[in-house]
């Protein structure tokens, strides 16, 4: 999993690319955590357009990012989520916690 970062006016967008499973989740969590520590953003947008496969490990990654952002008083949203990943989020009821735009 590759993560590309873009920040403007404390609005951070992270573009996720590759397969997001348990094998890659720990590194993704660490990398997202480091990006948040560096940018201290008000809002975080996770752009899923490059995610070619995701299982429930992705839910844990999003929930972790959400907890970190809440601690800063910020919030998280997801964008450009492909159908396969969307189905996983929907099955887990994630949209009750994190909006998908």
């Amino acid at each position: 999993m590759e993560i590309l970062s873009a920040e403007k006016d404390r609005e951070l967008t992270l573009l996720l690319r590759g397969e997001l499973d348990h094998h890659g989740a720990k590194a993704a969590m660490t990398e997202i955590g480091q990006a948040l520590d560096a940018a201290l953003p008000r809002t975080l947008t996770l752009d899923f357009s490059g995610v070619t496969f995701m299982d429930s490990s992705g839910i844990a990654v999003v929930m972790r990012a959400q907890r970190t952002m809440r601690a800063f008083g910020g919030n998280v949203s997801l964008t450009r989520v492909p159908p396969q990943a969307k189905k996983v989020f929907d099955a887990a009821g994630l949209t009750r916690f994190v909006p998908i735009r």
Partner: protein, 148 residues
């Protein structure tokens, strides 16, 4: 009497997380002969990923153990997938199947069984503490119009 599959594959691999991607790709390649839609293939890959990840994380938390995976095709375009381990087993299968229940800590969501259940037509979990777990899932692949 147990029905004989028309075709099957059987794989054995160590519980290394790098094999999660291999396992779901192998099943997807095998299932291709049923001419699944991208949606159906995505569902099957997701369920396989969850079952194999569970074995890696929960069956063998402190060691590398053996996982076997079998995918079979039965009459009626039914794909059956069995993931077996010889790890520590699940003390309370019913509890483990509840949404959000996890013993995997912050890195897990507790949604694995929920996703297997909602993406597949049937899910059976058999486990014995100290002996291992067998997860069997079935999914009928729809026959598409224009298909021979």
């Amino acid at each position: 009497m147990k029905m004989k599959p028309n075709n099957y594959i059987a794989l054995t691999f160590p519980s290394r997380s790098v094999n999660e991607g291999f396992a779901r790709a192998a099943v997807a390649a095998f299932a291709a002969q049923l001419d699944p839609t991208l949606d159906e293939l995505g569902d099957v890959k997701t369920a396989v990923s969850e079952a194999v990840t569970n074995a890696i994380v929960h069956a063998y938390p402190e060691e590398i153990g053996k996982i076997s995976l079998r995918a079979s095709i039965f009459d009626g375009n039914v794909l059956e997938i069995t993931v077996r381990d010889w790890g520590r087993g699940i003390a309370d299968v019913e509890k483990a199947r509840e949404p959000l229940f996890t013993t995997g800590g912050e890195e897990r969501s507790g949604m694995g069984f929920t996703i297997m259940e909602s993406f597949m037509d049937a899910l059976v979990v058999r486990s014995r503490e100290g002996h291992g777990t067998v997860v069997t899932m079935k999914r009928k692949i729809a026959r598409r119009a224009g298909r021979k």
